[in-house]
């Protein structure tokens, strides 16, 4: 409604209007009497699928990356969440991120693309939705699905119902089938650069959709009576699976500082504040003992100095008994026995650089940032660790390395590990060869990545790789049963899971393997069988389960192991 003289009755308005008329203008922007100016000039009221897709993809990656450390901590690789001391709202940030950012924008794309008959965008969004929600089920068990994102719906619903994980899985299979159908349909629309993950390549998206389906079948195989046949079918789908680096579902971090696009591990470990988590000593040391060719790519030592136990300050910075390997006799014994250490000055300095913590060490944090072992070039795109050279402090000079790391979300080598697991579980194929291929592929994957990021990286020799693989295979062959062999394979998957987190958390809950991880020193609760659904959601949403599931006693629907320390 524009204000006109009819609205201000009488001579008061008339007179004032007459005087003020010289201050009004025909142009709306400058007309003091025009009240129709409440359209936000800063933000659009329409979104286009081309603009929504890249943001949805980035936010989905951000959501997954936000939970990566938690799972790696729970599985004994870094000192994050490694005592299971979760608060009622510990994961509200991730939960909220999924539902208000990527999940919602994917849903917006589905709505808009359905209305416009835009099949390629629809297919991509459906595949992403299925992947996102299957991850949500794996993490939180029961979540809103069908009624989610209805805050702006014609019939507004701000309190969506929660659905059983199994139902959501079933709906996701359907979504994936629809996605593949839409992606294979002929369409004049091309996605192109709006897709920052696959650059609009529909055949890769089909491979992705097929791989997500396989991942879900593997994950839920213990509660699926027809898993064996379904998995075998899913291993050879029409359109194929992810089958190498060009089709891997990964996110490449950048080198850009502002806005920050570098790998979060890099920014926390390589910049001046140096507040990266501790790496679990046991994880590093096992890889040293097995002469794992990936060690120099995974980790970067900083210091060769041995903390002086007669100096109060140094003593205060020393990790708990046993974890400071250079002063730990048993570590030396094992290292010498494995032929990876000798009592030389060089090796002493080398071992002094193994500075981390035991799983679940909750003691206070001393001034030890100059000592802590940092993540290396893979996947953080920090620095390669050349054992033959003394390392330098990462804070000085600043900005060593570049931060253009990678987040492997769904890769070819993961599929090989799943294939090996299912071949062992259901007695088909050649599990030994599949497992060997998985390990070899991952070692090459890591080495190639490192070489592409830090020019000082050195590729492991074929002999080093073969020695390592043969040791694994000997171990595999020595295992008496398929289950025991699976345990060995999943230990390798655990090593390969550095920088991913999701797959090893799922694998342990699905199989109980690898069974030989060191238990945490401190436990605040039992092993987390799922993540706690945020209390805030419970408080705000009357449709949420009440009480909310207890995260360390109530497993997700596919978990029959119910792992416990």
């Amino acid at each position: 409604m524009k204000l006109t003289t009819t609205h201000i009755k009488g001579w008061v308005g008339g007179l004032s209007l007459a005087v003020l008329i010289s201050f009004s203008s025909c142009e709306k922007k400058n007309n003091l009497f025009d009240l129709d100016i409440n359209v936000d000039p800063n933000n659009p009221t329409q979104g286009s699928v081309r603009l929504l897709l890249p943001e949805a993809e980035r936010n989905l990656v951000g959501f997954l990356a936000g939970l990566r450390n938690t799972q790696m901590g729970m599985l004994g690789q870094i000192s994050s969440s490694d005592s299971y001391g979760f608060g009622a709202n510990s994961f509200y940030g991730s939960w909220s991120n999924f539902y208000t950012s990527s999940g919602k924008d994917i849903d917006e794309i589905i709505k808009a693309a359905t209305a416009a008959g835009n099949k390629p965008f629809l297919g991509v969004a459906q595949a992403l939705k299925a992947y996102g929600f299957s991850c949500m089920v794996d993490l939180f068990g029961t979540v809103p699905f069908a009624e989610a994102f209805a805050g702006n719906a014609e019939t507004q619903n701000i309190n969506p119902k929660f659905q059983a994980g199994k139902d959501i899985y079933d709906a996701c299979y359907k979504l994936l089938d629809d996605a593949i159908a839409n992606l294979t349909a002929a369409s004049p629309v091309s996605i192109g650069s709006a897709d920052i993950l696959y650059a609009g390549d529909k055949t890769k998206w089909v491979r992705f959709a097929n791989s997500v389906k396989l991942r879900m079948l593997i994950t839920s195989r213990r509660v699926n009576t027809s898993a064996a046949s379904q998995i075998q079918a899913a291993l050879n789908p029409t359109g194929g699976l992810i089958n190498g680096t060009s089709t891997d579902f990964t996110f490449n971090y950048g080198r850009q500082i502002s806005p920050e696009l570098r790998h979060p591990w890099y920014t926390s470990a390589y910049l001046a504040s140096q507040d990266f988590n501790y790496i679990e000593v046991d994880f590093m040391f096992r890889m040293l003992l097995s002469k794992d060719p990936r060690w120099p790519f995974y980790f970067r030592r900083q210091n060769t100095r041995i903390l002086d136990q007669n100096n109060a300050t140094d003593r205060g910075a020393t990790p708990v008994q046993g974890a400071y390997l250079v002063l730990e006799p048993s570590a030396w014994q094992q290292g010498i026995a494995a032929g990876v250490l000798a009592r030389t000055k060089a090796d002493t300095q080398y071992l002094a650089g193994f500075f981390g913590r035991y799983r679940g060490d909750q003691s206070g944090v001393p001034q030890d940032q100059d000592y802590r072992t940092a993540p290396g070039v893979y996947p953080a795109a920090g620095l390669y660790d050349d054992r033959s050279k003394a390392p330098t402090l990462l804070r000085s000079p600043v900005n060593q390395g570049r931060g253009d790391g990678i987040f492997p979300m769904l890769t070819s080598w993961m599929i090989k590990f799943w294939q090996a697991e299912s071949e062992l579980a259901y007695n088909f194929g050649t599990p030994r060869a599949t497992a060997e291929a998985a390990v070899r592929e991952h070692i090459n994957y890591v080495a190639n990545f490192g070489l592409s990021r830090d020019p000082n990286s050195k590729a492991p020799t074929a002999l080093e790789i073969t020695t390592y693989v043969n040791k694994f295979l000997a171990d595999y062959d020595a295992a008496p049963t398929n289950e025991a062999k699976m345990n060995r394979v999943l230990f390798q998957a655990w090593i390969a899971g550095w920088g991913n987190g999701f797959e090893m958390y799922n694998a342990l809950r699905r199989t109980g393997y690898p069974s030989n991880l060191r238990a945490p020193i401190t436990l605040y609760s039992q092993f987390a069988l799922r993540l706690p659904i945020p209390a805030t959601e419970g408080a705000l949403n009357p449709s949420a389960p009440s009480p909310l599931p207890v995260y360390f006693t109530e497993p997700v629907f596919w978990d029959v192991v119910k792992f416990k320390f």
Binding site: M1, G47, E55, F149, L271, P366
Partner: protein, 1078 residues
């Protein structure tokens, strides 16, 4: 105005029936000779009367020249003259009687105070000037009943909060409308970044120089500010500047100069017994002081108890520096004595403030001009902290021959501000922030760390040097500077014309616009800024246009003893705001802190906002017999920010005042004057702009792929808007009384009010699974019940010229949240700290919310039974809950003024009673074993409380059914550090009652007797000494903490309250002022 009897009005009522026998003419002026228009001239004993015209002239028919003429005018003493006497200049004296006091009210209309139906307080310029205070609001603190002022800390220019009659909104700014010379004056805080980065943003009322103020009026209730409408829902403060005031005849030049020294108001009392480390073991890399004792302490303990305490002789800090920065400091001694050093006195400096102000005022009675130029410079107690304010204003008014009355003024102000990063320390200590505030560390160094003796920058690169991964405060203070530069221009013009003898029309238009350019530098080589440094620049433009058209009648005699006044008007207002915020990282060339010298830049904000309000209003005043007054008003607004259907809204007010001493003729020497006031008023107001339609956010800066191509993207906002929003409402009911006893020796002004806001705009939290995190709705409701009292007692008034006056201003508010949202869920507000404010139905506004210790029903803390482990330590509550009430019980300011001959002394003492404060400063000092109260730590400590069951949170009972007092002792380290009363303990262990007694202001002035000035060019010289915040006592705070409880928990526009986050401390000032007139 009311007393004026108009000839025309008389004609209308048919009362002018006397035939003229002779006509006399005359002219009425004020004491300075300026003509007074509208003065009533009556023939005594008849109904004949007239009033003076714009030149002060009148002519009146009198029966004979011996008739008596009564000349009377509001605010002046009446005179009775013989008609035949010389009437050419009748100079009226201004009334000494306060009852005739004239005050500026809504829309700048001057009215006799006795007629008002609501509480209004006027503050004279002298009460604000030369008070060692460059901030108008701080200068006002404690002087006006019902005005609640809280300053935000002692960094130069740091913002100050003002509130009248409580909070009406959970999220919007709860500060009054500021009107300068009739045009709204934006008082925002343009805080480009959060409280964790820098807290030193100003509120923009800081642009007003107290020296440039002629008078100030506080309209507390919405009845008083009704004509201003919605924007005065939290009251209004009207400021008349010197150049906006009507000037007097003649010429006067006033020059004043002030110089003040500025110092930190208080420092914590540190312990000097123990140094760096933990568990009584030395550790040279630690911050905390739980290490080994210093030599004196060890010897003392060993002598007293035969102990065997060991202590190191030297501190390893230099060694730590050498390990961290190998080869950089060859000359640094390896060893320095292990003892307590004086750290803070070496850091804080003495600041100063210099003010110069020149005012020239010239006029011939019809045409006047006023020019003011002033400058203020203030350097603070932190290195590199300062503000400056330069203002220039020109104003004038003129009566044109054609009857137009024209006035206008224009003002230019440049306000500059610079401060090193001095934001809230909490965020870096516990929040994992990288703000890099000086106060992250400054108060919490190891006692054995001699800050001033250690290097703080790399001699080669200028990079930060510290023994831990933290920025050295000296380095931050030198390089990491925030600055703001405000250029503000505001002005107005006013044209008035008498349409008829009883009807005046006026038109006022004005604008007020400023640009605030802010910049913050984080130098490379530090911890904050990731080592590579960054710079941000923010430009804010804020503009306001306001046009008003007013028709006012003079008093119309409706019938005998019943007078009528009518005002009608219309107003148009437009506000626009613009902000651009750009950020650059990684300096290419050292020491050039420009965006163009950074390797990567991004624009984070480029935001425009515009909103308009149109209003039409009217007011009717009826006066019966000059002792009963009725006022009715109404206003309709049309607001651009509301949906079309809800855009137009009307709100009324009504009030009555009754001077019962006049009406009942009971005025005597004891009760000389008594008045009762009643009013009820409603205001409605619009909602923030752009809340009707959910939008998409275009993501900026764009995403750059690793391959280097730019990807543009957008996301649907997670704030769900609402196209059905309605205006908010505020309703108020007020009762008051003014009572004068003993002929004005004792004056009371009492007010009670109840103010309730309804349909508040709130962004309600909704389940994020809906895809959105908030939903805009109208739901909130807050009630405030308040008591205001002004007590003015002249204790002494001797013939020798000694007077002693005491004025007390009292303010008490009780708030209650009536509704939060449509489900009455808690609303949490906070700035990211782990203690928040919560709005909960039935509770006072903004209660403190956090994880507190579990308590039994009597309030005893519950303690884990048993030894070892958790034994002897707090049992915590399961979830965050309310643990403190930050709202003060009352504020009382008492000003003593003693005048004797040419001397004048005043002292303002104020008293804040009650109110809880959660103190991070206390928590951090306790945590690190700094305070004097932790000097004794060889013994064991017992937390006061009773044993409890950790599962049921109930007290354990002994076999007689009695509670068991906790006797489990824990070490001093555990008591303060791990789980006791320090920062790692439950939130309620650092909750303190902030009752404070303060000597806020002292002033001693001397006016040089005129006889000494006869041979000088000076008309008068006044010299005064002034002091501010010279002393305070907060008896219920932690011993030795010495923290000034007058702090804000954020910038002044925030509603977060009762949390000390450890930012810039308060200061005291004292100095000398000289004022000359020529």
């Amino acid at each position: 105005m009311k007393k004026i009897t108009m000839v025309l009005a008389g004609l209308l009522l048919g009362t002018l029936s006397v035939l003229a026998q002779s006509v006399v003419k005359g002219k009425v002026t004020d004491p300075d000779g300026a003509p007074l228009s509208g003065v009533t001239v009556k023939v005594v004993g008849s109904s004949a009367g007239t009033s003076t015209d714009k030149d002060g002239a009148f002519s009146i028919s009198v029966p004979n020249l011996n008739a008596s003429l009564e000349v009377s005018f509001v605010g002046y003493e009446s005179q009775t003259l013989r008609a035949g006497s010389n009437l050419s200049v009748i100079a009226l004296k201004q009334s000494a009687n306060a009852l005739q006091e004239v005050v500026v009210t809504s829309m700048g209309i001057r009215r006799e105070k006795k007629q008002l139906v609501y509480a209004v307080s006027e503050v004279k310029a002298e009460q604000l000037q030369q008070r060692a205070e460059p901030d108008v609001l701080r200068a006002l603190a404690g002087k006006v009943p019902g005005v609640d002022i809280t300053s935000g800390g002692g960094a130069p220019g740091q913002s100050t909060k003002v509130n009248l009659r409580g909070n009406t909104s959970f999220s919007a700014v709860n500060q009054p409308l500021i009107v300068v010379d009739g045009i709204p004056f934006d008082n925002s805080v343009n805080n480009s970044v959060g409280f964790d980065q820098a807290t030193t943003f100003s509120n923009r009322l800081y642009d007003v120089d107290p020296n440039n103020i002629e008078s100030m009026t506080v309209l507390k209730g919405i009845s008083a500010s009704a004509l201003y409408g919605q924007r005065a829902a939290n009251g209004a403060i009207l400021i008349t500047t010197k150049s906006g005031a009507k000037t007097r005849k003649g010429m006067e030049v006033t020059y004043s100069v002030s110089y003040n020294a500025e110092q930190i108001a208080s420092l914590p009392e540190y312990q000097n017994a123990y140094g760096q480390g933990s568990n009584q073991n030395y550790n040279g890399a630690f911050i905390g002081n739980w290490g080994a004792p210093f030599a004196d302490q060890a010897n003392k303990v060993n002598t007293a108890s035969g102990g065997l305490l060991k202590y190191p002789i030297i501190t390893q800090v230099p060694t730590q520096l050498k390990i961290r920065f190998p080869g950089l400091f060859p000359d640094l001694p390896d060893q320095i004595d292990y003892k307590a050093y004086d750290i803070l006195n070496a850091f804080f400096q003495t600041g100063n403030m210099l003010e110069n102000s020149l005012n020239i005022n010239a006029g011939d009675g019809k045409n006047n001009i006023n020019v003011t130029a002033s400058h203020m410079g203030n350097t603070g107690i932190l290195p590199n902290s300062n503000t400056g304010r330069t203002s220039l204003s020109v104003g004038g008014n003129s009566q044109l021959a054609n009857g137009l009355r024209v006035s206008g003024n224009i003002n230019y102000v440049n306000t500059t501000q610079q401060n090193p990063k001095s934001g809230a320390s909490l965020f870096n200590d516990y929040g994992g922030g990288t703000g890099g505030s000086i106060f992250d560390r400054l108060y919490y160094f190891p006692r054995s760390f001699p800050l001033g003796q250690m290097p703080f920058e790399d001699p080669n690169t200028g990079g930060n040097i510290f023994y831990r991964a933290t920025d050295n405060p000296l380095w931050t203070a030198k390089y990491n500077l925030f600055s703001s530069n405000v250029n503000r221009v505001f002005g107005n013009f006013n044209v008035a014309y008498s349409l008829t003898d009883f009807l005046d029309a006026s038109f006022r238009g004005g604008f007020n616009t400023y640009t605030d350019f802010q910049k913050q530098i984080t130098r490379p080589g530090g911890i904050s800024g990731g080592g590579i440094g960054n710079v941000w620049e923010s430009t804010t433009r804020n503009s306001e246009k306001n046009f008003q058209f007013l028709l006012t009648t003079k008093s119309i005699d409706l019938m005998k003893n019943l007078d009528l006044n009518v005002i009608a008007g219309a107003e148009a207002n437009e506000r626009s705001y613009y902000n651009q915020y750009a950020y650059g990282v990684g300096f290419i060339v050292p020491d050039i802190y420009k965006l163009t010298n950074t390797s990567q830049q991004a624009i984070y904000s480029d935001y425009d906002r515009k909103q308009r309000i149109l209003g039409a209003f009217g007011r009717v005043n009826l006066s019966y017999n000059n002792y009963l007054f009725l006022e009715l008003s109404g206003r309709n607004d049309w607001a651009s920010t509301l949906p079309v259907d809800n855009r137009s809204y009307f709100y009324p007010s009504a009030g009555l005042s009754f001077i019962f001493t006049d009406a009942l003729k009971i005025g005597g020497n004891i009760l000389s004057y008594g008045k009762l006031r009643f009013n009820a008023a409603q205001t409605k107001r619009d909602v923030p702009a752009y809340q009707l339609q959910t939008t998409y956010n275009v993501i900026s800066p764009s995403y750059l792929t690793p391959a280097g191509s730019t990807v543009y993207s957008a996301s649907l906002s997670d704030a769900l808007k609402n196209s059905g929003l309605r205006p908010e409402g505020v309703e108020e009911f007020e009762v008051g009384s003014e009572l004068n006893f003993f002929n004005g020796r004792v004056k009371l002004d009492l007010t009670f009010y109840q103010k309730t806001s309804k349909d508040n705009f709130v962004t309600k939290r909704i389940p994020v699974t809906s895809g959105f995190s908030t939903l805009a709705i109208n739901a909130g409701s807050i009630q405030n019940i308040g008591y205001e009292a002004g007590v003015d007692v002249t204790l002494l008034k001797t013939k020798g010229g000694l007077t002693w006056n005491v004025f007390a201003a009292f303010n008490r508010i009780r708030s209650k949240v009536i509704r939060t949202d449509d489900q009455d869920a808690d609303i949490l507000t906070g700035n990211g700290a782990f203690v928040s404010n919560v709005q909960r139905v039935g509770q006072p506004f903004g209660m403190l919310f956090g994880l507190a210790s579990a308590r039994d029903e009597e309030g005893n803390r519950l303690i884990w039974p048993g030894m070892g482990g958790n034994g002897g330590k707090h049992i915590y509550q399961d979830v965050d809950d309310i643990f403190g009430d930050p709202n003060l019980d009352f504020k009382l300011g008492v000003t003593n003024t003693i005048a004797y001959k040419n001397f004048n002394f005043s002292a303002l003492l104020d008293w804040w009673q009650g109110g809880d404060m959660y103190s991070i400063t206390a928590a951090s000092l306790l945590l690190r074993g700094q305070l004097i109260n932790s000097a004794d730590r060889e013994g064991v400590f017992v937390i006061p409380g009773v044993y409890g069951d950790p599962d049921t949170k109930k007290a354990l009972l002994d076999d007689k059914g009695k509670k068991i007092k906790n006797t489990t002792s824990i070490s001093a380290f555990d008591y303060y550090f791990s789980d006791g009363f320090g920062a790692y303990g439950p939130e309620d262990t650092n909750l303190y009652d902030r009752t404070t007694f303060r000597l806020r202001e002292v002033n001693l002035g001397y006016t040089i007797p005129k006889k000494f000035l006869t041979k000088t060019p000076f008309g008068s010289i006044n010299v005064s000494l002034s002091g501010r915040n010279l002393w305070f006592l907060a008896p219920n705070m932690l011993e030795g903490l010495n923290l000034d409880p007058e702090v804000l928990s954020d910038v002044s526009t925030s509603n977060i309250q009762g949390i000390d986050l450890g930012a810039a401390p308060s200061t005291k000032r004292y100095g000398v002022n000289v004022k000359f007139t020529f």
